[in-house]
């Protein structure tokens, strides 16, 4: 079952045809907006899904996805086909998340002076609703989004996007052993955070 799920995930995660993407990028370089729209159509769901998993916030993910494609357009002139376009998009998206989280960390230092400012981010667990599975998904999504980025990215790429360890290592510029280690640590963090829900604990918070 797991193997089937993994293979399905791999198929889903398979990027678009490199030849097609390369042809479209050639046209984008010359300012062809129709070609750019085609590229966006082809990769938007994957990018939005990836960013939703990284951030845990659907609205934020959509904004960041938009910025990701804008940056692709702006950098089209210097883009060279060294790999799959989707990997390049994921790289832009990851860097955007990293930059945003750095900004938020700096702003948090000013929080005592800002009074009442709360950074946009992860939703707090609410009281249990009738659809437990949906609530669980929300908790899992939130837990993933709160992982340190160095664990979050390889975990999402491997478990959700179906990338192999080798692909992730190549993309992140590290060894496969490092990727495996980070994924393992990410899983351990998730275990700790989600344990109350599996053990029937009372980790739910009520909104006031």
């Amino acid at each position: 079952m797991d193997a089937m799920i993994m293979s399905d995930a791999v198929v889903q995660a398979s990027p678009g045809s490199p030849d097609v993407d390369a042809g479209l990028m050639d046209r984008v370089r010359s300012g062809d907006r129709d070609a750019f729209a085609d590229l966006v159509d082809h990769h938007k769901d994957a990018v939005v899904n990836y960013l939703t998993r990284l951030t845990g916030n659907r609205d934020r993910a959509e904004d960041l996805a938009q910025e990701t494609f804008l940056r692709l357009f702006r950098s089209a002139g210097s883009y060279t086909e060294q790999g799959l376009l989707r990997a390049y998009l994921f790289r832009i998206a990851t860097n955007l998340v990293r930059s945003e989280e750095r900004r938020e960390r700096r702003l948090k230092l000013l929080l005592p002076f800002l009074g009442g400012w709360h950074p946009a981010g992860h939703s707090e667990p609410t009281a249990p609703s009738g659809l437990l599975r949906r609530e669980l998904h929300r908790e899992v999504s939130s837990a993933v989004a709160q992982l340190p980025l160095r664990y979050r990215v390889p975990l999402v790429l491997h478990e959700i996007e179906g990338w192999t360890y080798a692909d992730i290592a190549r993309e992140l510029g590290c060894r496969e052993g490092t990727v495996k280690s980070r994924i393992h640590r990410g899983r351990l963090h998730l275990k700790e955070r989600l344990a109350p829900y599996w053990n029937g604990g009372t980790a739910w918070k009520t909104t006031t």
């Binding site: 797991d2 799920i5 993994m6 995930a9 889903q12 300012g31 907006r33 750019f36 729209a37 966006v40 159509d41 938007k44 769901d45 990018v47 939005v48 899904n49 939703t52 998993r53 659907r58 993910a61 959509e62 996805a65 938009q66 494609f69 804008l70 357009f73 702006r74 089209a76 002139g77 210097s78 998904h137 899992v140 999504s141 993933v144 975990l155 999402v156 478990e159 959700i160 393992h184 899983r187 351990l188 998730l190 275990k191 989600l194 344990a195 599996w198």
Partner: protein
């Protein structure tokens, strides 16, 4: 919860899709962005370095060529000067030698109307 149970849990998460109109919004936002700049030559470090190196080589070659040309001109001018000096000195020596080869005329005295001289060239042949 076992470690391997996390994987399926993550893969169960629903795959998110972009909202309707996403592509149109992205394309529309292109107009509000600064114009895409084509990479200028000066932003390519290797090209800049190569161009600078080439310019340096060309400039060096040009400077050397100019410098060697001037040196030759200077040497030629100096040579002409020396030659002229030698010719002048030769002429003066010739004149001096010529004068030495002619017997001298000795002035003995005279007045306003007559000068009394002894032409030694004639005196040599004279029998006293």
């Amino acid at each position: 919860m076992e470690d391997h149970n996390v994987g399926p849990l993550l893969r169960e998460l629903p795959r998110e899709r972009a909202r309707e109109g996403f592509t149109a919004r992205v394309v529309a936002s292109l107009d509000s962005q600064p114009p895409r700049q084509t990479p200028k030559v000066w932003r390519q470090p290797r090209l800049v370095f190569a161009a600078a190196a080439l310019a340096a080589v060309v400039a060096s070659a040009g400077i050397l060529q100019v410098h060697s040309g001037r040196q030759e001109e200077i040497r030629a001018a100096e040579a002409r000067k020396v030659l002229q000096e030698l010719r002048s000195e030769h002429e003066s020596l010739k004149q001096e030698l010529r004068s030495l080869s002619e017997p001298p005329v000795v002035y003995l005295g005279g007045d306003e109307e007559v000068d009394l001289v002894v032409d030694l060239s004639r005196a040599q042949n004279a029998n006293f």
